[in-house]
């Protein structure tokens, strides 16, 4: 489940936020501090996660640090998915 989730997020970020010729992402590539996803684009990434996993991430939890890599995003999603359950 965790691996599936990781790949889903990684594929989505690659498809939506990277240009065609970019270096491939890893699960730990810095997304926000690395300038791949800016704070405005983070809103659409958050929306994707909320839609896809039927969760609600409060704005105060949607920090640049929490969105800074695929691994961190997955941890965030899992935390809110567990709360929902």
């Amino acid at each position: 489940m965790a691996d599936e989730l990781k790949d889903m997020v990684l594929n989505y970020v690659t498809k939506e936020y990277l240009e065609d010729d970019s270096e491939p992402l890893t699960y730990d590539t810095p997304l926000i501090s690395g300038g791949i996803v800016d704070s405005f684009s983070m809103v659409s990434l958050k929306r994707f996660l909320e839609n896809k996993y039927a969760i609600s991430i409060p704005d105060e939890e949607a920090t640049p640090e929490a969105f800074d890599s695929v691994n961190k995003i997955v941890a965030l999603v899992q935390r809110f998915a567990a709360k929902k359950a």
Binding site: E19, D21, F40, S41, S44, N51
Partner: protein
């Protein structure tokens, strides 16, 4: 003692010739910003001083002395000349904040060509509109951004060269592309800097229009006079400062105060090419021992959000002076910075069109938290009655911020759009498009925009441009775009969308439309909220009443609705 000393004395005895004399410039002389920022500093014996500390997000560091930036800008200028770039041609810079952006800017100016910096997060549509209007003949970019240029190449017959600064040979160059590596190119010791004069065009920055497409604000080399003096007096920049301007040179702050002013003053500046994080920013200040920090209210509010505890982890005692620009600085931010940094952020006010700071809080002068401050010496500013187009005779009334249009860095025109330029004036005053009031002591207090332009995190977004792009989405029948209050970014973009028959509102469609705009225009222009509506409020003549939607978002009175359709 601050550089400005007594504000009142400076106002009394002011002349722009103060800057001209310091720069060794006399009316009629050659004046080239590229030369002033590099060769002149070396001629003053500061060639070995660090001009730029740069660090990329992967931790790569680069350091350039003034002699290095002289050589690098010569090398880029020689490369451009070798390609056949002529004085007056527009050369676009479309890059992240890598050293080539800063050095390329100076190199372009040395050839006499006009630099056209564009924000690297722009999508292909935003890029096309701006490159086409400027009829740019060359773009300097990175391989990661080249696909956006390729996508629109067929629509730009004027574009002759796409210069890729980090081509590594892994993929072949495509149509009109050429590789240039600053590190591999032989340094050019001597380049004949083009003898531009005071009124020679230097830079075009694009800014959003209310009803039309973006406008190219054209500046001249003489702008240096204002930028040099305002950096000394308003930002209090000193010879031994380590200066950090957080702005991206895709916007005017990043060129006026992120390239031109600090380099012309010969100070050391640092650039961190990484996304925002409070930890990374504080670490950077500590590491580089930043003394003067020029940032934006959104960034300051983001730091506030990160809390006070994190500040204690770092030694920020090097900070001597702090200033802010881009949107009104709320009084809470001033109070907070006093508490955590021991000094306030000084708000500065200006626009792409003004080219330099025109209203400011000055070191040594009382900071009235939340106020824009007072006009820079030599600049006449007022608040106009919007009906009579004359300055109010009593204080405290909200009106239009207006300026006498006579300082060195004022824009000279909108590129290919003289009509829009002429519309910026009323009764002999330049109208900024902002509203404010004046208090009895001459401080300006910001009250909002006078038009529909959205100021999000200090960047202006045109509702018209977003609405036009929305209509290109297959599901959108009509749309209206307004600002929505936001605690972090001051305002964000909100779109009201009516769908075409056969489409149904859903969360997936909402996200699809958001991403559509983000990629087409830019992340800044992406609606942070989309409200699907059956139809939009219109006048009887069919014009969408954006005003009603705006009022709803801001909890304001709706006002006159007598022209509303089906009212």
């Amino acid at each position: 003692m601050s550089n400005i000393g007594s504000y009142d004395e400076r106002v009394k005895n002011f002349s722009w010739s103060i800057a001209e004399k310091e720069l060794g410039y006399k009316p009629g002389d050659v004046i080239n910003i590229g030369w002033y920022c590099t060769d002149r500093i070396c001629q003053q014996g500061k060639g070995e001083r660090v001009a730029l500390y740069w660090e990329g997000f992967t931790g790569i560091e680069k350091t350039y002395t003034y002699n290095d930036i002289r050589l690098a800008s010569n090398t880029i200028a020689a490369f451009l000349s070798g390609l056949g770039i002529q004085p007056g041609e527009r050369v676009c810079l479309f890059m992240d904040r890598i050293p080539e952006l800063y050095l390329g800017f100076l190199g372009i100016l040395k050839t006499g060509a006009i630099a056209q910096p564009l924000f690297s997060a722009f999508g292909d549509e935003s890029l096309l509109v701006r490159l086409s209007n400027a009829e740019a003949t060359a773009v300097i970019t990175q391989k990661k951004h080249a696909p956006k240029v390729r996508k629109i190449l067929d629509k730009m017959p004027h574009l002759k060269h796409i210069i890729i600064v980090d081509h590594d040979g892994t993929a072949p160059l495509k149509d009109r592309e050429v590789a240039f590596s600053l590190e591999k190119a032989a340094p050019v010791e001597h380049f004949d800097v083009y003898p531009t004069k005071a009124e020679s065009p230097s830079v075009i920055h694009y800014t959003s229009g209310t009803t039309g497409m973006p406008k190219g604000v054209q500046h001249v080399h003489y702008s240096l006079i204002s930028q040099y003096l305002t950096a000394q007096w308003a930002l209090d920049l000193r010879d031994d400062d380590i200066y950090w301007c957080t702005a991206d040179p895709g916007w005017v702050t990043g060129t006026s105060y992120g390239i031109i002013a600090p380099f012309a003053l010969g100070v050391t500046q640092c650039v961190l090419d990484a996304g925002f994080s409070a930890e990374a920013w504080y670490k950077w200040i500590e590491k580089r021992k930043v003394t003067m920090w020029y940032s934006a209210p959104t960034a300051i509010r983001s730091l506030m959000k990160a809390g006070d505890e994190i500040v204690k982890k770092f030694d920020l005692s090097s900070l001597r002076h702090l200033a802010s620009v881009g949107e009104p600085l709320n009084s809470e931010a001033v109070v907070w910075s006093r508490k955590v940094f021991g000094k306030p952020f000084y708000d500065t006010y200006w626009q792409t069109e003004t080219g330099s700071i025109v209203i400011s809080n000055y070191p040594g002068m009382e900071v009235r938290a939340g106020s824009m401050g007072k006009p820079f010496p030599g600049i006449t500013g007022t608040v106009l009655d919007p009906i009579k187009n004359e300055p109010y005779t009593t204080h405290g009334k909200i009106g239009l911020v207006a300026l006498k249009f006579d300082w060195p860095s004022r824009m000279r025109t909108y590129w290919n759009n003289k009509e829009a330029f002429q519309k910026k004036f009323r009764n002999g005053w330049y109208i900024t498009g902002d509203r404010s009031k004046l208090d009895a002591d001459g401080y300006f207090w910001f009250a909002g925009r006078d038009d529909d332009i959205i100021n999000t995190a200090g960047h202006l977004v045109s509702p018209f441009e977003v609405e036009s792009a929305l209509l290109e989405h297959p599901a959108v029948a009509e749309s209206a775009v307004v600002s929505k209050p936001d605690p972090l970014n001051l305002e964000v973009v909100k779109a009201f969308v009516a769908l075409k028959p056969g489409f149904t509102a859903s969360k997936d469609l909402d996200l699809e439309i958001m991403n559509f705009i983000r990629k087409k225009l830019s992340p800044l222009a992406m609606p942070q909220e989309i409200e699907f509506v059956p139809s939009l409020p219109k006048t009887r003549s069919g014009k969408i009443m954006r005003r009603l939607l705006h009022a709803k978002e801001w909890g304001e009175e709706i006002g006159d609705t007598s022209t509303l359709e089906n009212d």
